[in-house]
Amino acid sequence: MIQKIQDAPLTRALRLYGEGDLRLEDFSLPQLNPSDVLVRIFCDSVCMSTYKLLNQGDRHKRVIANLAKQPIIVGHEFCGEIVAVGTDRKEEFHPGQKFIALPVRKDGAIEAPGYSYEYIGGASTLGVFHSDLIDNGCFLPFQGSAFFLGALTEPYACVIGAFKANYHCQRGSYQHQMGIRPGGLCALLAGSGPMGLAAIDYAINGDTTPSVLVVSSRNREKLARAMRLFPPEEAEKKGITLHYVIGDTVEAERQLLQICEGQGFDDIFIFAPDKALVESADRLLGQDGCLNFFAGPSDAKFSVNFNFYKAHYSGTHLVGTSGGSGEDVAEAIRLMELGRIRPEVLVTHIGGLSSAADSVRNLPNLPGGKKLHYTQIDLPLIAIDELEALASDDSPNQKLYKALAECVSQHAGLWNAEAEKILLSHLGKL
């Protein structure tokens, strides 16, 4: 139950009350404990995991309480500013400092911001990080130039974590070599979604790179966009032969087999929880091949016919990760600061808090990549590549759209820190 406390700050947040039951509500946050931190959220990007959460409600493994009685705030890829710091933490943090959330607890407990908590989640205006979350590494100071970059560190950290969790064996030794095979053959199946883009980016620009990278997708439009953003010629400069493969699972497998000349892949990442795709990946694994089941299925009984002959004789093996660690976040931030990775390419849509619920509900059917919601403003979900068209309409936001369209076109059509500033400077004017 929400305690009504005098002078307690008011928040507006998107709360989950059960399967399919999302509500945008105003309510009071509890008074700040001495070791808590009160934050203002600016940007929350929408993840497919939140869509799955919406469809599972209380059945979701990260949901602990009874949602009907204790609704949780959704959204776990978010960034904002510290508003107030409890007396015990004055030395650690200060108001005005940017922060990011990490939905993985150090202690391994299943709870996470965006899934399990009443007072903290991305799709809200204000929230409270309780002491226990801060102590478990779920609250991290951030010095980046834009809120949206902060929000996108989480999906990048997931990808970085997945790449680090892959492993390979050496014959005659029981020590695992962690990470993808350096200079090996790597495939990203169903890899044209936002997480796929982050994976392409990291595979090419991370510290350990494959020599061959193949991205498959059945979505021609998304794959074409991926190819524009990460052209094979650019990858070639880093010594990586990058292939894009369009087609259904059968066709993609045929082409992938051709590319690896029947030898199989060292590392395969699967970005859609699809049985046929997993079975195809299994067939595509080479000696000591590592299959990373990146996309989490909703069905707890999701099973796949896995080839155990290969597991026994060829050492093929499985890895699954769901979320990156604090170190992965640090690496994502380091690579961002060095300009080596480009989170902005993931973003195709922006919106305000009021349109966040629809983004979550319709996520699998929405075109494009990442949807960013700026929670301090009211804005319908708009596609970045439609800003120009919108600017010519006679809309009340015409001036803003025009300014944004100009800024975006100066940045190769991509969302950027300056555009974010323009958007936020219109705060209250919308």
Binding site: G108, Y167, G172, S303, N305, N307, F308, H317, L318
Partner: protein, 422 residues
Amino acid sequence: MKTKAVRIYGKNDLRLDDFELPPIKDDEILARVVSDSICMSSYKFAHQGEEHKRAPKDIANNPSIIGHEFCGDIIEVGSKWKSKYQAGKKFTIQPALNYKGSLDAPGYSYSNIGGNATYVVIPNEVMEMDCLLEYSGDAYFMGSLTEPLSCVAGTFHAHYHTKNGSYIHEMGIREGGNMAILAGVGPMGLAAIDYIIHCNRKPSVLVVTDVDDARLQRAAKLLSPNEAKKNGVSLSYVNTKNVADPIAHLMSLTPKSEGFDDVLVFAPVKPVVEQADKILKRDGCLNFFAGPSDPEFKAEFNFYNVHYNNTHVVGTSGGNTEDMRESLEMMGEGKLNPSILVTHIGGLDAVIPTTLDLPNIAGGKKLIYTHISMPLTPISEFREKGKTDPLFAKLADIVERYDGLWSVEAEKYLLESAKKIA
């Protein structure tokens, strides 16, 4: 040097050949094989012929001697290895050489070396990879069984577990955790139980399943829950045929029904693999120990748990040299008793029918003495055979003094008294 050896020429085409070994080169060693135990891998090899991963492609013209669990005496050492090995010493071999990335192994890939032979030439790469091990025990058969024991030791070393927030794997089984060995009272299963209750890294709960009461009873007698308890392991044997809901029952044998950290599957049977999957705890490691013959052998595996609960799979086929040394050491200290594995004894002329029919022959390890002629005979039938054959009568007497188990004394008597192979 003339040798007599069982060689494979193709699928199910095994022949007992007499042929002349080439003179050894400076970097080779001539050896007499005394004993070889027959492994299910050799059956699979016989069945697959040239399609086997370790087989030479031209096996019809270049037949391989089969058998890779062998022990014998060094006869002559080429000059290159004289400082390391001496004639007259006993040896055993670690067959998974991993020489320059090759899968070639004695018992699979060589015309002049393998376990089912009287004499062999040990090629340079065996010594090069430090896979020729001196054996100082009395019993040749124990030397033979070092290899299967090393596979078992190695398979436990290949297990791993993950740590939250870290990408470094902790290798080995979960110490003090829950372990299940499914279909685990065959010869390799027994060796696994023997090893894991006596090694340095033990589980606290060990559940062993099978569907054969007689085999389970034998296991419980040879490796009793009391013996396990002395070593801090709570061991139970379960006939999964006799419980209504095997999965629920197995889970109930772990604290708070939390499931198992480590599950080993000792039969390449789909429902057993699927049962293993269903009893895994978070971060549970499924070890598919038994290699199937069918390259399309598949089983349903829960990928939701792969993603969210870090369940994972390992498969090993063969230990490394360290594992062999560990096994030799543990045998030397009396911690491992490989004689519990042995249920049948035969001569070199018993190898072909035994290998080809291996899955249909009940019991544990089939032990071959390569210089004698003797049909494959269950130890349990010695007394009966002894009624007409004094050799078996005497062997039965010896075996009875050792709780029905094969022994160094029985081996010595057999080698002195049995009919030599022609």
